[in-house]
C-alpha cells in the first residue's frame, strides 16, 4: 500500500522522461548508423521536420490560438504556448534583429538533454537538432518559411541554449490552376 504514495506528481515527469530517453536512444542509434555527425544532424532535422508538419495540427487543435498578426506575435506564441505545452519550459524571446525578422529563443534548461553528456569525439553533433526541424516544419504549415539553427548549446559548454530563428518569406499558397480560377 505504501507504494501508492506521491504517484500523481510523478506521472507527468515520467511521461516526459519517456520522451527524453527515447530521443536519446534515437540519437545513439543515428550515431551508430552514420559515419559523421553532420549526417546525424541532417537526419535529426529531417525527422523533426516530419514531426513538425504533423505537430502543428495537434498544436492548433489543443491551444486554439488564432492567426498571428506579425512575426513578433508568432515568436511569443512559440515561446509561451508551444514550448510550454510540449516541453514544459518557457524560453525567453530576445535578440531581435533591427529589421524584426530574426530572434532568439533562449532556454534556461533544455529537457531533451536532461540525461546527456556528449563524448569528446562528437563535437560537431547538434544533439537537439530535432527541435530546429520541428519548428521549421510546423511554421511551414502555416505559410512561413524560416531558418532555424542552434546558436548556443549547454551540451557544448555554453551557459544557455539558444535557438536562432530567421524569417525568410511568406509562402504563397500554390493552388492548382483549376482551383485558382474556377
Amino acid at each position: 500500500m505504501s507504494r501508492q504514495s506521491n504517484r500523481t506528481t510523478d506521472n507527468k515527469k515520467m511521461n516526459s522522461e519517456l520522451f527524453t530517453l527515447t530521443y536519446g536512444a534515437l540519437v545513439t542509434q543515428l550515431c551508430k548508423d552514420y559515419e559523421n555527425d553532420e549526417e546525424v544532424n541532417k537526419q535529426l532535422d529531417k525527422m523533426g521536420y516530419n514531426i513538425g508538419v504533423r505537430l502543428i495540427e495537434d498544436f492548433l487543435a489543443r491551444s486554439s490560438v488564432g492567426r498571428c498578426q506579425d512575426f513578433r506575435e508568432t515568436a511569443d506564441v512559440i515561446a509561451k504556448v508551444a514550448f510550454k505545452m510540449y516541453l514544459g519550459v518557457t524560453p525567453s524571446v530576445t535578440n531581435w534583429s533591427p529589421a524584426g525578422d530574426e530572434f532568439s529563443l533562449v532556454l534556461e534548461s533544455n529537457p531533451l538533454v536532461d540525461f546527456v553528456e556528449l563524448p569528446d569525439n562528437h563535437n560537431v553533433l547538434i544533439y537537439s537538432n530535432l527541435l530546429c526541424g520541428v519548428l521549421r516544419g510546423a511554421l511551414e504549415m502555416v505559410q512561413m518559411a524560416v531558418d532555424v539553427r542552434f546558436a548556443q548549446d549547454t551540451l557544448r559548454g555554453d551557459n544557455v541554449t539558444e535557438i536562432r530563428m530567421k524569417f525568410i518569406k511568406r509562402i504563397e499558397e500554390n493552388l492548382p490552376y483549376h482551383i485558382r480560377f474556377f
Binding site: 507504494r3 527515447t22 514531426i51
Partner: protein
C-alpha cells in the same frame, strides 16, 4: 502538458527511420524489430530505475508484474493494462484493449501486418524494466484486431 503527442510522433518517426535505413525483406524485418526492441530495452531500463527509486522492495514476481501493469503503464500510456493473466509458472499475458501507440492506426484488420513494428519498442520497454527489477524475460506482442493487443511475458528462471 501535451508531451504524449510528442512521444507518439517521435515513436512513429523512429519506426519510419529504422525501416527506411534497413533494407526490406523477411529477414530484414526481423532485424528491424530487434533494433527497435533493443532501443526500447535501454529506455525501459532508464525509466524503471528512476521510477522505483523511492518505492519499497517488491514482494514477489507477481507484485512486480502488477506494478508494471498499473503504475508503469499508467505513466507511459495514461491507462492501466486491462487484463493480466498468469499461469503462475512464469508466463504472464498483459492485455490492453486500446493500446495508445496503435490508436492512430485504423482499427480492425486491414493493416494488421504493420502492427508488430508499433509494438516492438514497447516490448523492449517492458523487458528492460523487468530486467532492472531482476527478472530476465522474453516479451512478445500479439494483435488480433487493433487497437487491442496482448503482450506475453515469459520470465526465465535462472
Amino acid at each position: 502538458m501535451a508531451d504524449e503527442a510528442l512521444f507518439q510522433f517521435l515513436h512513429s518517426e523512429l519506426i519510419q527511420y529504422i525501416y527506411k535505413s534497413g533494407a526490406n525483406g523477411e529477414t530484414e524485418n526481423g532485424k528491424n524489430i530487434t533494433k527497435l526492441e533493443a532501443m526500447g530495452f535501454r529506455v525501459g531500463q532508464g525509466l524503471i530505475e528512476r521510477f522505483t527509486k523511492e518505492t519499497p522492495r517488491f514482494k514477489d514476481e507477481l507484485d512486480v508484474m502488477k506494478f508494471i501493469c498499473k503504475d508503469f503503464w499508467t505513466c507511459l500510456f495514461k491507462k492501466q493494462i486491462d487484463n493480466l493473466r498468469t499461469n503462475h509458472q512464469g508466463i504472464y499475458v498483459l492485455q490492453d484493449n486500446s493500446f495508445r501507440l496503435l490508436s492512430q492506426l485504423s482499427a480492425g484488420k486491414q493493416y494488421l501486418e504493420h502492427a508488430p513494428k508499433y509494438l516492438a519498442f514497447t516490448c523492449g520497454l517492458v523487458r528492460g524494466g523487468l530486467s532492472d527489477l531482476g527478472l530476465k524475460s522474453v516479451v512478445t506482442a500479439e494483435v488480433a484486431g487493433m487497437p487491442a493487443c496482448k503482450f506475453q511475458v515469459m520470465i526465465q528462471k535462472v
